[in-house]
Amino acid sequence: MKPDPVTHSAYRAKRKKSLVILTILLFAAMVIAAGVGAVTIPIAEVASILFRRIPYISKYIPNIGAQDVYETIILEVRLPRILLAVIIGGALAGAGATLQGLFGNPLADPYIMGISSGAALGATIAISYKLPSFFPGLSSVPIAAFLASIATMTAVYFLAGVSGRVSMDTYLLSGVVVSSFLWAVMSFIMMLSGDSLREIMMWLMGSLSNKGYAHVKMAFPYVGFGISVLLVMARDLNLICLGDDEARHLGVDPEPAKRIIMLASSLVTAASVSVGGIIGFVGLIVPHTVRMVLGPDHRLLLPASVIAGGIFLVSADTVARTLIAPSEIPVGVITALVGAPFFFYVLRRRKMSES
């Protein structure tokens, strides 16, 4: 019997098509997000401002906008925030998809390794002791959060690795213990600094408010590097989620692969938590939903989750900053409010299609 050429090409076409569709959706979401906000800007002006920035086609775009303030709002306020939403959404969803695969557990999320508690402690210290900032446009909070989360990542890694061979259970346990310890330290500091309590709480809820290109520049290299590593490791992840023995039988040494994946996803999480705070649900439901639609093959699941995470967070943040304008809602509130019911809808639909 000859292999079935239809199934083969259909399989590859499906992968390519879904990534292209997601990328188009991402750009659509970004353009819409750039056009919508607390300040109403005519759509023609939005288009003119945006497309005049693109090389090659810029000379064909007339400058119809008379108002400098619109340009500032779109290019300096909305655009960095949109870029940051894409980076953080992609980072969280990518790390979530990875950790779900690594632990073979669809309930894993990027915060499971205790990275967020490290970031939270760093932010708490910076906020309560009012650490001075060294970088223009960037307060000391994200920097302290990043350093503390990297320290946490290292601590969890070495505590889990004392026995030489790292089992995922040890890793999880180590993450939980370190995390509880750090939350306790953080609560203590918060208690001592009654003044900053509210600000720390706001930071913990996660927000993309008031971010500039400095934040984008801070997060992007780490997220970009970490996600690239994860994409390269995607096929190893396919085998690792079937168990250590299976992975080895199919040619992947599970120990070093797991360490690399672990560190890369921690790095990605650390960078995104540092600039965006703890934004829930993205890392849990985006990969889960993508898996339900596109299947569990990490070579497709990882890039698709990264793009879908960007779409989701950009959309959620657009709602967060427009719904009760001129006030804003913490984006974590929106991701949870939208995410939880949508998750149930997907679960239900899957159940119904099964029966």
Binding site: Y11, G104, R248, L250, D253, P296
Partner: protein
């Protein structure tokens, strides 16, 4: 291609699991490993794949020490079919079988048409092509096992290690799958080393048998040399009658239950 183990020992802390076992396997051979529960069969298999480093002795794959080779190179030559493990996500059958090509692919490459041909051929061989788009989680145990075998075939191995691959299957599936393995030794000249529970099944399919007990090799040879009432008695502690398979001609064991006292060898047991 050949796999040789020389005086391999492996201990779990102070418990000796494999004790000074040597064996060899060549292309086209079907070798069965027998032994009671806890006799070290599975540990031996893991030492042979390089997953466990032997405490003493060496394992050579075509003359190269297995536990010093990169796992990817080992996986190009040795495929393993174990009992079904836990699969956390609904991979499709096609995706699952394609994983068998991983050892042959460069890190960032996609499957070439040749790879896909091999994958579909492997699915054909185990009769799972029609399931290609289905999730492995929706399959029956037997179907799933055939998917895993197809994945092993897609590895294009020279040697296939089996760890009780049919122990949960109905007789029909069991024979079907054992037939697949046997035909591989003939058609593709693959060497098969199978840890088996079922003495009769092992006897039917194996060219040679190895009997393990408490980590030691207690017998090795042709089925008639290993499947004897004495060895059945000393290894499994059972009274057995050994007869010739009327069709295949290999030895078959019939166990004598304890309640029939005084019966002697040579008489056919009652129904």
């Amino acid at each position: 291609m050949r796999l040789d183990a020389f005086s391999v020992c492996y201990n779990y802390d102070i418990i000796t699991a494999v004790d000074n076992v040597s064996l060899s396997l060549e292309s086209g051979e079907f070798v069965g490993i027998l032994g009671p529960n806890g006799s070290g069969k599975t540990t031996l298999l893991r030492v042979l794949t390089g997953a466990l480093k032997p405490w003493a002795g060496t394992v050579l794959l075509d003359g190269e020490e297995v536990h010093k080779m990169r796992p990817k190179l080992v996986a190009q030559k040795i495929a393993v079919v174990a009992q079904n493990g836990y699969i956390p996500f609904p991979f499709s059958v096609l995706e699952m079988v394609m994983m068998g090509r991983e050892p042959h692919m460069a890190r960032l490459s996609r499957e070439s048409p040749q790879d896909m041909d091999i994958v579909f051929e492997a699915m054909e061989a185990t009769g799972v092509t029609h399931l290609a788009e289905r999730s492995v989680l929706d399959l029956s145990y037997g179907e799933r096992q055939r998917v895993v075998i197809a994945r092993a075939l897609a590895q294009e191995p020279g040697i296939l290690l089996l760890d009780e691959p049919t122990s949960h299957l109905d007789p029909g599936y069991r024979m079907e799958i054992m037939d697949i393995f046997k035909s591989l030794t003939r058609r593709k000249n693959i060497g098969v080393l199978a840890v088996l529970h079922d003495v009769n099944l092992a006897s039917v399919y194996s060219d040679r048998l190895i009997m393990l007990n408490r980590g030691k090799k207690v017998a090795e040879g042709l089925p008639w040399e290993v499947v004897t009432k004495e060895i059945m008695k000393s290894v499994y502690g059972v009274r057995a009658v050994v007869r010739k398979h009327p069709v295949v001609g290999c030895p078959q064991v019939m166990l004598v239950p304890g309640f029939i006292d005084g019966r002697v060898e040579g008489e056919s047991p009652k129904d």
